[in-house]
Every structure is written in C-alpha cells, then in structure tokens.
C-alpha cells in the first residue's frame, strides 16, 4: 500500500532522531517494524478501494437528488434564464459541491471554472491492475468526459471511480443508480496519495532538520529549536505516563509519526490547497489498523489472560467477560478511526457550508454583504478547526499510547 510504505519509512527517521537525543542508546524494537512490514504487504489488496471515499456521501442521497446530480454532472442550472450559467444555487447543487470537494480524485485541480469549463491543476498517474499493469495519465479521462483506451481496454471515470467499459462507454446501472460494470484494481496515485507523499516529505525535511541541529551539542540549533519541545511533549506527556518508564522507548517512533502525520494532515486540510487526507475513511482505517496491530503484537501474557480469562472473578463471570473483552479489542481502534474521520469531515463540511452561504444569501444581502457574513462565520469556524487539528492528533496519539500501555503493562499479582 503506497500510504503505509511512506509511514513505515518515517519510523526509521524517528528512530534515528531518538538516537541522537541523549537517551540511552538501545536498539529500537525490531518486532514492531517487522509487524508493520507484514501488515503493509498483507493489506495491499485493500488499497484497491482507494476511491471508495466518495461512496459514503452518494449512498445516502435519495433517488431524486442522485438522478438530478447525474444529469447536472457538468452542466449547471440557468436560474435567471439570461443565458449565463450561475454556478451553485440550489441546496442540491451545494450538497454536490461540498461532496465533490471532500472526495478524492484522480487529478489535482487547484481551481476549476465550471462556467468556462476550464480546470487549473495537473493530472496524476492512473495505475490499474487489470490483466497486467496499466499506467497512464488521468488527463485521458478529460475530467470524466471521455473514455481512456489503453492496450485495447476501455475505461470510464464516473463519480471518481474507474469502470471497465466498451468503446462507446456504456455503463449499466442498477436499482440504486450505481454502475454494475467491472472495476479494475485501482492503485492510482490519487490526490490523497499524492498529498500523503507531500506530508511525508514535509515531515522528513522537518525532522532531518531537527536531527542535524544536534550535531554541535545537546542543545539544538536551527529548526530543531521549534520541534524539540513538541517531540519532548509527546515523550513526557503521552508516552511516558501511559506506557511506563521501561518500555516507552520502543513505541516512540510510532507515536511521533502518528502525532505529526495527523496534525500536519489536518492543517493541510484547512488550507486552500484542497487536500482532505484525514477526512478520507481509508486513511483513518489504516492509522487505526496500525494501532490495532501494534497493540496485539506487543501484548504480553498478562494482557491476553485478562482478555480471555480475567483473573480474580468467579468462573461464570469469566465466561461472560471473554466475548465482551474480545469485542472491546475491536471497538477501541474503531472508535479511534471514527472519531478522527467524523471530526475532520464534519469540520470541512461546516466550513464549506458556510462558504456556500454566499450563494444562498446573495439575493437577500447582496454580494458584498453575503461575502462579509460568510467570511466572518468561516473565520471563527476555521479558528476552532485549527484547535481541532491539534486536539485530534493529540487524542489519537494519547489513546494509542493508552492501549499500548494496557498491553505491555506488568501486573503485580498478589
């Protein structure tokens, strides 16, 4: 999986950095890195669902809005009848506009002028696995207007997903207006994957700067001066209290990676660059999966004993507690991923909804007044979202360290 490969490489970077900070120089636990490598390879097929993000919005539209959305895919209503396309006007169009901006796509569009039909941005490579590897640029799709023909197979881009069709581009729809054509395995570099690479490069540059700052002595120079308190914050407030003095060192790499990845991804989502990494459920599933795997693979005997055969309670209770504890194994990472995904998506939706207030209030307040009201509200919501960006990163990391701490804890039995 392209995403996990990058996160995995970052763990090495953090391991190097921690060695340079004057902590006792032990070997980073090889077990966790091997575990992650196995996980990355084992879950490779799931990356074929890279584009499923758009589905969660579509699946809940009712029939009418979905039909209308299809017909209006590249055309907008002419509300005033003066021959000029008006852009987003009705609640349905606003809904589609928001969904479109939160979804993943095969090209990186900075700005698109729907009225004139122009898009400013660049196309990303499409990598399909369909009886052989097919790599081509997504510009062949022309934003959904045309069919890409590669090596005799024809592909059509419909609502963000690629389907295999014939020369004419026919798509067979089922009762819920979803195409039933065959889908090739989609390993493309979509906007989210590209953004994850960008985040990885940013993190690498930041922390390489931090590591270089230690060359002259224990007090860092340069970029390290800003980052050292953050790294120490993760170590002293999150890792040490929850995992314990003896074992926190092994997990620092993972905790640091997750903390900074989520924080930077959330912050980038707030910029006009238009990337929505943590608002994509597949990314949060990956992060929660890492936590889950690390917790399970580093659990010691006491941990498993507490799950399956809780000591200190009568036998009927033990049998009753075992399924509840097993369920708890899965619900804890699940809540992690839902919390991050829902917070970020809700935040983005609110910001975009407030921006759409401009279009709704245009008639009532006039363009200038509508922009003023909308900008003020959006400003305040964006400030809250900045807090949420940090808070969600902190919370994810803290809960992960809590679960890890529960797994590696040494219990004193009387």
């Amino acid at each position: 999986m392209l995403k996990t490969g990058r996160v995995f490489k970052l763990l090495f970077t953090f391991a190097q950095i921690l060695k340079t900070i004057n902590i006792h120089n032990r070997m980073i636990g090889k077990l966790n890195l091997k575990v992650l490598m196995v996980a990355a390879i084992a879950f490779l097929p799931f990356s074929g669902q890279a584009n499923d993000d758009q589905h969660h919005g579509d699946a809940h539209h009712n029939e009418a809005s979905h039909h209308a959305a299809n017909h209006e895919h590249n055309a907008h209503q002419d509300v005033h009848g003066d021959g000029v396309k008006d852009g987003v006007n009705t609640p349905k169009e606003i809904n589609d506009y928001i969904q479109h901006h939160l979804a993943d796509s095969h090209d990186y569009t900075f700005y698109s002028d729907e009225v004139a039909g122009k898009h400013y941005g660049f196309s990303l490579p499409v990598i399909l696995l369909d009886n052989g590897l097919k790599i081509f640029s997504s510009s062949k799709f022309h934003h959904g207007d045309s069919i890409a023909t590669v090596d005799g197979s024809h592909y059509k881009l419909y609502h963000g997903k690629i389907y295999k069709t014939d020369v004419a581009g026919t798509l067979a729809f089922d009762a819920h207006h979803h195409p039933t054509n065959e889908k090739p395995l989609d390993f493309s570099i979509t906007k989210n994957v590209f953004s994850i690479f960008v985040i990885a490069i940013i993190m690498f540059l930041l922390f390489a700067g931090l590591a270089k700052g230690y060359k002259k002595g224990p007090i860092p120079t340069g970029l390290g001066r800003a980052l050292e308190p953050l790294v120490l914050f993760v170590r002293d407030e999150i890792a040490r209290p929850n995992i314990g003095e003896k074992k926190y060192r092994k997990f620092m790499g993972f905790l640091l990676t997750v903390f900074f990845f989520i924080w930077i991804a959330n912050l980038l989502g707030m910029t006009p660059l238009g990337v929505n990494v943590t608002g994509n459920i597949t990314v949060t599933v990956c992060l929660a999966l890492f936590t889950f795997l690390i917790v399970q693979f580093s659990g010691n005997k006491d941990y498993w004993k507490h799950i399956f055969w809780m000591p200190g309670v009568p036998v009927p209770m033990k049998i009753l507690l075992a399924p509840i504890e097993i369920l708890g194994l899965f619900t804890k990472p699940f809540s992690l991923l839902i919390r991050l995904f829902a917070n970020i998506t809700a935040g983005h939706t609110v910001v975009m909804g407030l921006l759409a207030v401009i279009y709704v209030m245009k008639e009532v307040l006039g363009t200038g007044g509508a922009i003023g009201v909308s900008m003020l509200l959006t400003l305040f919501i964006s400030l809250i979202e900045l807090l949420v960006a940090f808070l969600q990163a902190y919370l994810f990391t803290m809960l992960s360290s809590l679960f890890i701490g529960m797994a590696v804890e040494e219990h004193d039995h009387h």
Binding site: S335, I338, R339, N343, A346
Partner: protein, 64 residues
C-alpha cells in the same frame, strides 16, 4: 433526511450538550476547590470532551 432522522440527530446533539455541560460543571467545581490543579483538570476536561465529541459525531455520521 426524514423527520425521524432529524429528530434522532437532535437527540444526539442534546445528549452531547448535556454531557459537555456536566463535564464543564464538574471541572469548574474542581478548579474552584483547588486552583493549583487547574492545568491537570483542564487537560482531563479537554480529553473527555474530545471523546464525547467523537461519540456524538460518530453517531451523526453513521446515522446520516
């Protein structure tokens, strides 16, 4: 969204609001009793707030 769905969403928000109010109230009482522990109490309050918000958002998103 149907009426029942909207009513359910309203109930979720009501529950979250009550929860936050209780957390905030207890935090205020605790800080009033022991001002030097204010930082720790504030941290705990924010953590529980985020957990509760995750629950509320999760219910809203899953329900929608």
């Amino acid at each position: 969204m149907t009426d029942i769905t909207l009513l359910g969403a309203g109930l979720v928000v009501l529950g979250a609001g009550l929860g936050f109010g209780k957390i905030g109230g207890s935090a205020m009482d605790a800080i009033a009793r022991q001002p030097e522990a204010a930082n720790k109490i504030q941290t705990a309050m924010i953590i529980i707030g985020a957990l509760l918000e995750g629950l509320a958002f999760g219910a809203l998103i899953l329900g929608k």
